[in-house]
């Protein structure tokens, strides 16, 4: 569903931030994207989300060449992708419920049609009593869960998560990870960017995409 071929990216006239990226993300696969801070994990996630154009190479996503996509086609593709940002990117003037419902709202679905779905997901991630709270009053962990819920609400075919457990305690991190695993089992391909080795060790079957010095090495996971 996602394939990078000889992809490289430079900002301006500087050196390439990432180079010679060759890898694919198969449907229903589960992988960690890891590497030291500043190695290019977030850049790679942004390339996958089509919010950056590579300066060379080709990205194929859902069977289409990303370079040939117009804005409408990019929008259609993003509706098949869930994304969790490291800094959450919740809209501060909307309630937690409205933030989580946002992807459905922008698709034009009626509020009455998705309310039960959103409420159920919010209760599942432990935000049942924070649905009408605004993000500025949520704790880091609560914001994290709201951001994850927003990514999951459309039941995406591909989930991209940037340090999704970076702001929560270990037990909550495990619970959130279970959420991703369940989503993966239901057919979603998952890419989680993290540098938490302990977390990755809990999922030995997951592929590891290790980025370092601008290049990528792929380590297949153990058989489950």
């Amino acid at each position: 569903m996602l394939r990078f071929e000889n992809v490289g990216l430079r900002y301006g006239v500087g050196a390439e931030v990432v180079r010679d990226l060759n890898f694919g993300v198969a449907p229903q696969s589960f992988q960690f994207l890891t590497g030291p801070s500043g190695a290019g994990k977030t850049t790679m996630l942004r390339l996958m989300l089509l919010s950056l154009r590579p300066t060379r190479g080709t990205i194929h996503i859902f069977g289409q060449d990303a370079a040939k996509l117009d804005k409408d086609a990019i929008t259609a593709i993003r509706r098949r992708i869930g994304v969790v940002f490291q800094d959450f990117r919740l809209l501060d003037h909307l309630t937690t419920y409205e933030n989580v419902a946002l992807p459905l709202k922008v698709m034009g679905r009626s509020e009455g049609g998705y309310r039960a779905e959103v409420v159920e997901l919010l209760r599942w991630v432990g935000l049942g009593d924070r649905m009408n709270a605004l993000p500025p009053v949520l704790s880091g962990g609560e914001k994290q869960r709201a951001a994850i819920a927003r990514a999951l609400i459309v039941r995406p075919e591909l989930l991209l998560a940037d340090e999704p457990t970076g702001n929560v305690d270990p037990s909550l991190a495990r619970r959130l990870l279970r959420l991703f695993v369940e989503l993966h089992k239901s057919g979603t391909a998952v890419v989680i960017a993290t540098h938490d080795l302990a977390l990755m060790d809990q999922f030995g079957y997951a592929r590891r995409l290790v980025v370092g010095d601008g290049q990528l090495k792929v380590f297949e996971g153990d058989s489950p």
Binding site: L49, L50, S51, L52, R53, K71, D72, I74, T75, R78, R79, V83, F85, R89, L91, H93, L94, T95, Y97, E98, L102, P103, V106, M107, E111, G112, R115, A116, V119, E120, L121, R123, W124, G128, M131, N132, R150, L152, V154, L179, E182, L183
Partner: protein
């Protein structure tokens, strides 16, 4: 996600604040409303002024073009009253004449009062005598027989058909209307520029929100609609304030001109602008300008947002 079903579903009112996706306070709304209000006020004033001049010039043209004036200059030892009577009689018998009004000596002297004052004795001055001849419509060009009859029967009488004045009035009225149209266009341009700045500023201030909307799958048209709705409201507000102020201005000006109409200066203004009163058409034009400005604000912001969004991934 397979958790046990929630016992009850909270009502929507508990879950939503129904805030616009682009927060109102992220846009310099108040400043833009003030700019739009001022520009609308000036645009309505310009348009209203042009309408007044155009209407008044129609009145001048209709009035002046149907009137001709016979002027009789007093001669030493001549009987001015007899000459006036003879000229009026000739005029009344000429073809195509609807009405003849000969100004008496006192009426002629009164015509000079606004310029010379009331206290002056004009009895010793050779004040020219006037006869205003009102033509039937369609006989404007047929003055030669009257001119010849006057030369024969009332020596010293001259016929003025106001052709020179008509031409000057036409030129002046047309120039005023063209100038007003140019001024109006400049104001719209200035307002469009202000809207452009405000829209770009609003987009810069909400870049993070726009990014999030993009990432969760919002189409450019959806995001542009969020801005368009907001700017339409701002446009309506500013245009309504400016338009109502302009309507109030014309209403007050009409009352003041009515009050001052008895004075000499008031008569001059009335001669130039009529009663300084906008008709129903003028107020309708103000309403139309307000609606157009509100619509222009929304369309412009939408177009600018679209252009900016196209440059974003």
């Amino acid at each position: 996600m397979n958790a046990s079903s929630p016992p009850t579903l909270p009502p929507a009112s508990q879950l939503k604040r129904d805030m616009p996706l682009i927060p109102s306070d992220s846009i310099a709304g108040r400043a833009l409303v003030v700019v739009i209000a001022i520009m609308t006020f000036l645009a309505c004033l310009t348009a209203g002024g042009a309408i007044l001049v155009a209407d008044a010039s129609q009145g001048w043209r209709a009035g002046v073009s149907r009137d001709v004036t016979i002027q009789i200059k007093p001669r030493p030892g001549g009987d001015a009253d007899a000459l006036v009577a003879a000229a009026a009689d000739i005029a009344a018998r000429a073809p195509g004449i609807a009405e003849v009004h000969a100004y008496s000596k006192a009426e002629s002297e009164n015509l000079l009062a606004p310029w010379l004052g009331d206290g002056l004795d004009l009895g010793q001055l050779p004040v020219p005598r006037l006869i205003v001849v009102h033509m039937q419509s369609g006989h404007r060009e047929d003055l030669e027989p009257l001119r010849q009859a006057l030369a024969a029967g009332a020596p010293g009488a001259s016929l003025d058909d106001h052709r020179l004045w008509l031409s000057r009035l036409d030129t002046m009225a047309d120039a005023i209307v063209v100038f007003a149209a140019a001024l109006f266009a400049l104001m719209i341009l200035a307002m469009a520029t202000a809207i452009g700045f405000a829209t770009r500023g609003a987009m810069a201030g909400t870049r993070e929100i726009i990014d999030v909307l993009h990432f969760v799958g919002a189409a450019d048209s959806y995001i542009a609609r969020q801005f368009q709705g907001h700017f339409l409201r701002l446009g309506f507000k500013g245009a309504a304030i400016g338009g109502l102020s302009a309507a109030l201005f014309f209403g007050l000006a009409s009352l003041v001109s009515l009050w001052r109409s008895r004075s000499a200066g008031g008569e001059q203004i009335a001669a130039l602008f009529g009663a300084f009163a906008l008709g129903l058409g003028g107020y309708a034009a103000i309403a139309a300008i307000c609606l157009a400005i509100a619509g222009l604000t929304a369309l412009l912001s939408r177009e600018i947002v679209f252009r900016q969004l196209r440059s974003l991934l």
